[in-house]
Symmetry: D4
Subunit: 230 residues, 8 copies
């Protein structure tokens, strides 16, 4: 690289927001990723890497790769030991079809990185509604339900009409024709008749995980007087 | 009007397609509508008028209005006696919210004009899914189910996953933001994960009625050998 | 109205989701609204009405109007005594410009209806960033921050980069040219570089309020062992 | 794959809707497809596979491939013996240009899988209208006409103005410029001046086949009294 | 008006292009139009005014109005005597539905202003194709056919496949849903499978007239040697 | 108004950016505007008001109106004496058609408020290119040329290819069909083949004025050594 | 290929429209193209092939290739001897930048196939307007000017304001950002302030050539009495 | 290449606009680029080449390559000695994330080609706002600040609210979902609440550089009397 310029990592994010900066690999070269992993290893820090596809992962330094826990479905890698999450999950992740799993798993891995227990329920799209209805009591117990769906994106609306917890919709760029880029699933979630459904960008499993984390983090704080003692 | 030009009514539509030309009033003046009704009265023909809003209806000739059966919800008027439809409806019309009723009723009136019995089930959107599930057996008996929904347009997909008959989606221009013009509901129906769902233009209750009519008409024909005797 | 059809109110929403069905007045006539308010009065139930503009409010029955607490900025009305909310608000609502207040207030009124204390901080858009920075410590103490912004919709991203709580973006249809319908503000929030920002439909203050309610409701539940005793 | 999660096949679709779950191969790996074919072979079930392009087909297990009837034009494969369809087709499939054939054939293959006789009439676009007009009597005898057209998508409107049966439009992503993604052909079909034309998603030959199947299935039912004996 | 600035009329258009500057009234006040008509009267020049709706026409100075030949369908007015056009029209104007006539007439009036004979054939849309086919020989004799169609805009493609002359498509903003703003009709014409169809902006009857005029003007020039003596 | 909330005017804008906060009247009631004008009068401050249409201006308090210099073309009002601008304008404002003048004048008034001399050259669109070419030397002397154009927005590209100064494009929402909302003119300016053309939002004459002001302000600063002494 | 179906070439196009069916190679395999060329060779017919990119051309049968006149810029091939066109061109083709030449040449080749003389003037975009102005007298002598431009597409509007002949705009998919797919250039031409400009689809050089051919063909006809003898 | 046509380089751009024609390599073959570089070498002229990706650069003639200063981040090459720029930069270039650097560097290289000193400040996006605030005094001293940002594009608005100089926004096609093509960042900048922000096309670092150059060039001119002596 033949220019020289200032780079400014966001060193105070953990204190400010309660979670680490994450390496979004889609716009980085293997070299850049190698250097970031190396740095974290030296500093004995853990690291979450997203959008690291199989091809780019194969190009990383083989010495570093052995320290990474890589998930080829979600294209995420985790540096650092993943501790066993708590027994009783507070977050469910529900997906419509099998092609939504890559995005659902990105949310799951984001939460697992922070040791949040996750219940994963995949392939329960409304084309066969009974599959979702069988699991609905389980979902009603969850504090947060992340719904992941492409094509017409019906699942988030149906779930948000049935469960009381916070429901987060992650639209997925699955399908073809009007569904090709995920915008139909996105708009479907935004326009939902089910009240209080919130939405993140297409394919943004990581963002849904972070939103869940924000909520769980503030729930851990000591409640102000008169709150939380139900 | 100071030009003079050729107008060419489609006089053979009934023989060709099995249904009459209909008067789409949105792009006609009260004068033009008066003349068309007058003409049909003289010829002793029946007539279906759509998109005739309350204001324009009030401007029609009072002599002609008494011959019209006007429905202020669907903005349709029918000239000619509506015979009692058959006892056992073969078409259901299902809508998500109360603001979809104007479009659902346009479909209903189109079928009633041709003496087709219709079962109307309104306000059963997925925000309260139990309302639809209570009626599902009834819907499974129908040959055709017309689903009418605005906002995110979840209803058609859920219905098409539950009933075996032909399911026609009519998206509705209800809501605001990304739902404002009905395109989200339209794309949601087109991208549906439920197989064999067919779709008409936004707010096109009349078109859904005509599609049902096409199917019912060809069902009346004597079946070719080896068909229809199940 | 000359058809007769089935209407199916969602009677179990409170038990299922933890909040009441709300009357969305934009697609209802004054007559329909009068009847709904009358019904709630008789049943001694409270009622939240949204998108009830000044003109339509003026057309309501004067007998009923005296029971309604009407807010002409947010176009909301509340039937039933509003109890004093708790002293220490857990939700902040922040808006960029003065034309966003109508939407911000819809969120505020939705929460007030459920006796949730709200801190309202308006007109702190990034064109004069110091206004927001002065209030940032206050916002960092909140469990939920609802950010309401039209035009380019910068505010949600800036806030979500500075506070640890759940941040909900409500895009607003303010401005002209590319900003006219709120889609720029919407996409800006969805594409945000600040992790974990969640989004609702354009102008959907009510939806943001309901999302906050979902989160606060599940926080009230007895925490599973090992949780919430920080 | 290093997560473990629940997958939930829709086992009751046949009873519910009258047709089997189909394997949409576009979002599946050769491995996943191999396993699904293997499973169907063991269970002695037939199987329809769509969007299985030539390259992916070549990567399937050679042992399994010999059981598959593969059509390289439509990218479909059928497992199980295809019985001879009835003599007299009730469904016609009509396409505008030669590049629409891949989609038209997907509809044809879907119907052939269920032993429905199909009349295929391709390359009769309106640029040379006489080609269609020569076949119009033949088409008027059909219960269902599936029209498949890209570019400006004129064909469905012309056909629906000439034949009384149910006409289903399948827009195709053919062409360039404003025609590139099939949305022009889609909107053209939705906006059609020919009444009762129904539409499926761009390139969705499978969906058109399923819609035809829904209609043919309900026609087989014993008609209620007073119906179907014309 | 309290600013003062330079205005620069295009005084050489006639010499340059072969036709006059036209007054596009949509963006002008009655006062501005009055002054322009007054000026032309004084200069003994003829003038074509377009987009002059009935309401604005009624607000013009009554003294000036008597000099104007106003057509309330096309919203055009002509100042100056319209000479009798030639016997044998060289331009046909064809429209699909009755709501396209306002745009078709704008093209007709533009040509009439320049004394070009026009054959107007309206309401021959493809929903009843026989109407167009009956007139096709007549159209094949024309040098130019202007086709005017809204909704799905099928007519231009069908005509351009049947006649050898220059075919100009004028899309019309008729219909609702995906057809509402004329973009579907526009794209349909642009994507046409019929070769050599040319297109103007939505509702631009004036532009189609000017294009025809350009062609007729250059045809009047003495042909270069070896041309035009077929 | 029945809520009470914090409003936070941007009191330090002048020091920070070099220009005052401006009152964007489109989203304000006459009452709100009256109060803002009253406040400025008391504080003996000048004030620029934009998007104040004739109807809203007529509703302002008649006592206040006499202090306002109102321009009904640009819908701007200025409170405070406008000092005579310098003799030799450094900014030209050029518009294509007469319907662009309202936006061009908004830019002019913004600069006049800050006593910047402006040369206004209107109605020189490329349909009659000679009009622009006659003025081009004049434009080449200007430091900044603001080009204001609707429809296809050709003017900014042509000007930016001919003059060396900073050229700012203001697209205008003029025209119909694809030009209706100004997005075609906007994209045309953004995609320009003329290098260094910069663009503001559709109809944003005020923004173009502010950009010119930013440039003129920094030019007034004492140049660093070795600069500005050409 | 394992289906069998009817294909219906348009054998009467020459008589109907005055030009041959053309082979659009983008959606055809080398095998299909080989067979079509072989067929034309046997029948001793000439043939125009478009969208035949270098890679696909290299895959054609080497025996056939020697009969083809291939142009690698426009991706066209011509079978049959190209006779010398007339001395004095009646059509000019003008392009803005060097990347528009591939499309401009497609128009040129289409006309050359029919022995129409063409004047090609490339790289005269408005970023350096003098280049166009130097050629304008030459262009004013032409009956038809085909203007080919990508990016912001200014060229067609400027030319149509300067020359009296028929001006056809061919937008080109050149550039990036808002210009990437040619829609900005397309809309710019459609919205042009220059009257009578006609437009074809993005990149459709062939269509522009055919439109020119239509006009030249009808000009060859014996003029009706009183016409063409200027 | 088998046609022959006129090419017309813009030889007077330097005199007209103050900067050279630049070689946009994206639409040129290596051969074409080689010839252009060769020509400049012979003429002893300098040359700026943009959009020259690594792969195409590797295909250039090795003899020529040694004369080129190539920057693989910005995909630019410079022919000719780059003189040392002045000590005190007058232009800052600020970017949000590391993937915006390729575009930011294109702007920097464009200015460096003309010996303009540039201060580059990268990776200071608002997700960690403190990074920008630390540099704000430095930015307030600059005459021009070029802000480069993808995703939601917040950075330009925040900067333009804090600094008095001319602020130019360059949107970047970074991200996925609604951010994929840079249109969200573009619209965000256009709709900005910060007054006087100007915008160029997505990824158009070169255009931003040229705009800065235009401003700096006119600042060098001798000021007219009464100006610039602040």
């Amino acid at each position: 690289m033949n220019g020289d310029w200032d780079l400014t990592p966001d060193t105070s994010r953990k204190q400010r927001l309660g979670f680490d900066e994450t390496v979004f690999c889609a716009s980085k070269t293997p070299d850049q990723i190698n250097r970031l992993v190396q740095g974290a290893l030296k500093a004995e820090e853990s690291l979450l890497l997203t959008r690291l596809d199989n091809k780019k992962f194969a190009e990383l330094s083989s010495e570093l790769v052995e320290f990474l826990d890589y998930d080829q479905v979600s294209h995420t890698a985790i540096l650092g030991r993943i501790t066993v999450p708590e027994d009783r999950p507070r977050v469910a992740i529900v997906s419509g079809g099998s092609s939504d799993v890559r995005v659902a798993r990105e949310a799951a891995r984001t939460l697992e990185y922070y040791c949040i227990g996750v219940r994963e329920i995949y392939d329960v799209g409304v084309a066969g509604l009974w599959r979702l209805l069988e699991r609905i009591e389980e979902l009603r117990d969850m504090r947060i339900v992340i719904t992941v769906a492409g094509m017409e994106g019906t699942l988030p609306s149906v779930v948000a009409g049935l469960v009381p917890g916070l429901v987060i919709a992650v639209p997925v760029a699955t399908g073809y024709g009007v569904a090709a880029n995920g915008i139909t699933a996105l708009n479907s979630a935004l326009a939902s008749c089910a009240p209080g459904l919130v939405v993140v960008n297409v394919d943004n499993g990581y963002g849904a995980g972070c939103a869940a984390l924000r909520m769980l983090n503030v729930m851990q704080r000591r409640p102000p007087s008169g709150e939380g003692n139900g």
